[in-house]
């Protein structure tokens, strides 16, 4: 019988198939610390080639791991069992744009920002905007139900996916639509981290660009008071399009790198975006500024030009990368709490970092209660590595105690699968397991992801890992 590699070569040819170790190295890792070389990778041009790859992998009993840009922080794209990596680098086209009905069909390898750039001239945009949007792909975003700063008013990826084309575990191609009769398979596939099927096309919902946009920056003495202001804004029934906080450490790193105009000496910075009709944007800014001042804002400033606005956003979205300037390594946690608990949870995170003798930076989607504490460490120091692992777990436990959860937008992947059982009971997980069993009974799609070991038989034990300082 032919080898796995030989069968792939025969069926798909050298254009599509990679089997040399030096070619496979790029498919071994994502932004998480673990890596493993796959046995083979394919870079298919269409769903048919994906399906062929899936069928051959299944016949050879190899695992199948889909891969977008590899920006995931939780090891979701790491081929932990070798097997086949399906890279969507070539399936990156905008297939069809329907401006009038604000819909587009796109291939999964299309870069998030490229979609919005391509359609901006029509007065429409694609709302989910993870900080990685310059490199991360729509397919990867679908896998993790990615968020981003603008989720606050527009919702996450799942709210913008109208239908999906996917290859199932038998190598058959299917199409779903949220308007189909029957179960909402589209909704289940989004956020399933490549464990239920391989997405080969996505129909997305597009939104009309707002008439006016204003971005404002407020300086605060500390993160707690900025968080109080955010809780008060939401509590007052105002939902701007974005409400982001950066603490002093992050703001300094960002300004050193980007010179975007953030107040460098502030204890915390609140970035606010208001969008909508002209009349609402002006009155909205006044209302927000008043609340911010009541909660201790030291300054409030609106960006004066589109360029300034863009610079503020570019710096915010590049915050994690900018940390690379001041930290040998860092570890970003992702968790979410009810918005009234923000001040409390920020206080607790600070205490946890101090307990573990670690420096912590905070850059987060405050309006959604979605935290990203960033723990700074030196990976050459074993004590610090262990401290980061322990502090990360403490932070997740604290968020759960406050009624929150262990991932707002990055997903569970490989890293957090053991922590999933802190949030869900065995019964809750068993219900998810039934879905997995239906779509992929052999667990060939992205094994070792999401489910805790022991939740499903046949999964091997996990190791704790810490990722290196890779831009988020």
């Amino acid at each position: 019988m032919q080898s796995f590699a030989a069968r792939l070569h025969d069926a798909l040819g050298p254009e599509v198939v990679r089997t040399e170790p030096e070619d496979l190295a790029v498919y071994a890792f994502d932004a998480y610390s673990e890596d493993r070389l796959p046995a083979a990778a394919i870079v298919p041009r269409d769903a048919r080639e994906v399906a062929i790859g899936v069928r051959i992998a299944r016949e050879c009993d190899e695992a199948i791991v889909p891969r977008g840009a590899g920006t995931g922080l939780c090891g979701g794209a790491v081929p932990t069992r070798g097997g086949l990596v399906v890279s969507f680098a070539r399936m990156n086209r905008l297939v069809e744009l329907d401006v009038r009905n604000r819909r587009a069909r796109v291939q999964p390898g299309l870069i998030n920002l490229d979609l919005s750039t391509a359609i901006a001239g029509h007065g429409i945009f694609y709302a989910p905007d993870p900080s990685s949007q310059k490199i991360s792909t729509i397919g990867g975003n679908v896998g993790t139900n990615a968020g981003g700063p603008h989720c606050l008013s527009y919702g996450t990826t799942t709210n913008h996916v109208l239908g999906i084309e996917y290859v199932d575990a038998e190598g058959a191609v299917h199409r779903t639509s949220i308007d189909d009769a029957g179960y909402d398979l589209t909704g289940v596939l989004v956020g399933s981290e490549g464990t239920l099927g391989i997405v080969t096309e996505v129909e997305v919902r597009l939104l009309k660009l707002p008439e006016a946009v204003r971005v404002c920056v407020a300086a605060f003495g500390d993160v707690e008071s900025a968080s109080e202001a955010v809780s008060a804004i939401i509590g007052a029934g105002i939902v701007p399009t974005a409400l982001e906080i950066m603490d002093a450490l992050i703001t300094k790193a960002v300004e050193a790198h980007y010179h975007a105009g953030y107040p460098e000496n502030a204890g915390a910075v609140l970035l606010v975006e208001i969008a909508g009709a002209h009349d609402d944007v002006a009155s909205g800014e006044a209302a927000l500024a008043a609340i911010a001042r009541r909660h201790g804002a030291l300054s409030w400033r609106a960006a004066r030009s589109d360029a300034e606005r863009a610079a503020l956003w570019a710096a915010r979205k590049g915050a994690a990368g900018a940390m690379g300037r001041i930290a040998p390594n860092y570890y970003i946690q992702d968790a979410c709490v009810p918005r009234t608990r923000l001040p409390q949870v920020m206080h607790a995170i600070d205490a946890i970092a101090r307990d573990h003798r670690l420096a912590v930076g905070n850059v987060f989607h405050a309006g959604d209660g979605n935290l990203h504490p960033l723990l700074v460490f030196d990976r050459r120091d074993a004590r610090q590595v262990q401290a980061v692992i322990d502090a990360g777990t403490d932070i997740l436990r604290t968020c759960i105690e406050m009624g929150g959860t262990i991932s707002g937008e990055h997903g569970i992947g490989y890293e957090k699968r053991e922590t999933l059982s802190l949030v869900f009971s065995t019964d809750d997980l068993a219900a998810m397991g039934k879905v997995r069993e239906v779509f992929d009974p052999a667990r060939a799609f992205n094994p070792d992801k999401i489910f805790p070991t022991g939740a499903m038989c046949g999964e091997v034990g996990a190791r704790n890992g810490v990722r290196e300082g890779t831009p988020a």
Binding site: R100, S192, D279, S425, R436
Partner: protein, 419 residues
């Protein structure tokens, strides 16, 4: 535990008839654990259970093939978790939408569930039926606003999904599976939603038009810079918003200056299309009119009336509706110019119990005209299949049903493809 539940007299059971079947027991659990116990007992006894909220959308799925127990959610009305400053709420599935709306209105918040008959419709039923109302183009669907749920599965296991946070990627998004599953995978006993701040101003604009102006009126109203949250071309449905003529109905929501500007833009666009009169309703009048319109979606006009909804593209909705009226002169239609829905109300004149196979049933006729269309409601003598041809992914759906409910306890035969 199950023995302690109040049981209804048989006369009361008549109200829960579905198709030709009457259940033998009505059980009204007071909490999630009791609801789960009902299912566990039914599962062990091999009995069939239909989960029942307010019953307003029960005709949007087929009659069950077996039917022993009604599991009414009417006592599951707890308010578990509502801190208005979080803009989230957790409630029992049996709470009516009207009660929920009232609780939120006190704090200037809302959730755009847009259901017919909100004083009877329950939150759980709204989710289970996958109801998606006309404001969804502006605010999202119930599926998009649900952030967590507790569900009693067919074997009596209680499971939760999601939580009380607005962003959550923690395992599979199981809530999506239960929403729209018409009670075939589990009984939703608790639901958590994210909420929205209520718009300060609401206004309804009603513009009757003559037939020759239809195309221009629709085109002009559909191209406004400040888009109405709802924009419909309504033909018939005289009980909803008068006059009984063909009319455009727009719902404007937002701050007062924006609603004022939107009104001017709408009037001027319609004026340019030759539509002379635009009547305005404000505040509570607009709210009442909008509700009467929503009630019409699921209003049973006569024993043989059937209402369908066909999803589609906004750009096609008006033409598709026109196509239906041309083929079926007595059909009433609503073309939803923002969501693309076409609502069709017709009468099933094939006659109750008719076995004349030469007359195609009304659901076939409507589906021939509109493609996929599902039933919203139907009178007692109308004979229609709620679903039509199942989608191509039906095999996976059947396997999901088998995995979640291997003994066919929950609403057997009611769902798409006979699930």
């Amino acid at each position: 535990m199950i023995a302690k539940l109040p049981r209804a007299r048989r006369t009361k059971l008549d109200a829960y008839a579905l198709g030709a079947l009457l259940p033998s027991r009505l059980l009204e659990p007071v909490d999630a654990e009791q609801a789960a116990a009902v299912l566990r007992a039914a599962h062990d006894a091999g009995e069939a259970v239909v989960v029942y909220g307010g019953g307003t959308l029960q005709r949007s799925s087929n009659a069950p093939s077996r039917y022993d127990i009604v599991l009414s959610t009417k006592r599951l009305t707890a308010l578990y978790d509502y801190d208005p400053r979080d803009l989230t709420i957790g409630i029992g599935a049996g709470m009516t939408v009207a009660t929920l709306n009232a609780a939120l209105a006190e704090h200037g918040q809302f959730i755009p569930l847009d259901v017919p008959f909100p004083s009877r419709a329950t939150v759980g039923g709204t989710l289970a039926a996958g109801w998606a109302g006309p404001r969804r183009a502006a605010y999202g669907r119930a599926r998009d606003l649900l952030i967590g749920a507790t569900v009693a599965l067919a074997d009596g296991t209680l499971v939760k999904t999601g939580g009380m946070v607005v962003k959550n990627v923690t395992g599979y998004d199981m809530g999506k599976l239960y929403v729209g599953s018409h009670g075939t995978l589990g009984a939703i006993v608790r639901a958590n939603f994210k909420l929205l701040p209520a718009p300060a101003t609401r206004r309804m604009a009603i513009a009757p038009f003559d037939e020759e102006l239809r195309a221009r009126a629709v085109a002009h109203a559909g191209a406004l810079a400040l888009e109405p949250v709802v924009l419909l071309a309504v033909d018939g449905f005289r009980e909803a918003v008068p006059p009984a003529r063909s009319r455009l109905i727009a719902l404007l929501e937002g701050s007062e200056p924006v609603v004022e500007r939107a009104t001017r833009e709408l009037r001027s666009a319609l004026g340019a299309a030759g539509v002379a009169e635009t009547r305005l309703l404000d505040g509570p009048d607009a709210t009442r009119a909008f509700q009467s319109l929503l009630d019409a979606y699921a209003g049973i006009e006569s024993d043989d009336s059937v209402t369908f909804v066909a999803r589609g593209l906004p750009s096609d909705a008006a033409l598709r509706a026109q196509h239906v009226r041309a083929a079926l002169p007595r059909a009433e239609t609503i073309a939803d110019l923002r969501t693309g829905d076409v609502i069709v109300r017709v009468r099933d004149t094939s006659g109750a119990g008719s076995n004349d196979t030469a007359v195609p049933s009304i659901d076939r006729v409507v589906r021939r005209l509109l493609g996929r269309a599902t039933v919203v409601c139907a009178g007692s003598t109308a004979r229609v299949d709620a679903w039509g041809e199942p989608p191509s992914t039906i095999a996976t759906m059947r396997e999901l049903k088998t995995a979640f409910d291997p003994r066919g306890v929950l609403a057997p035969g009611r769902f798409a493809g006979g699930i």
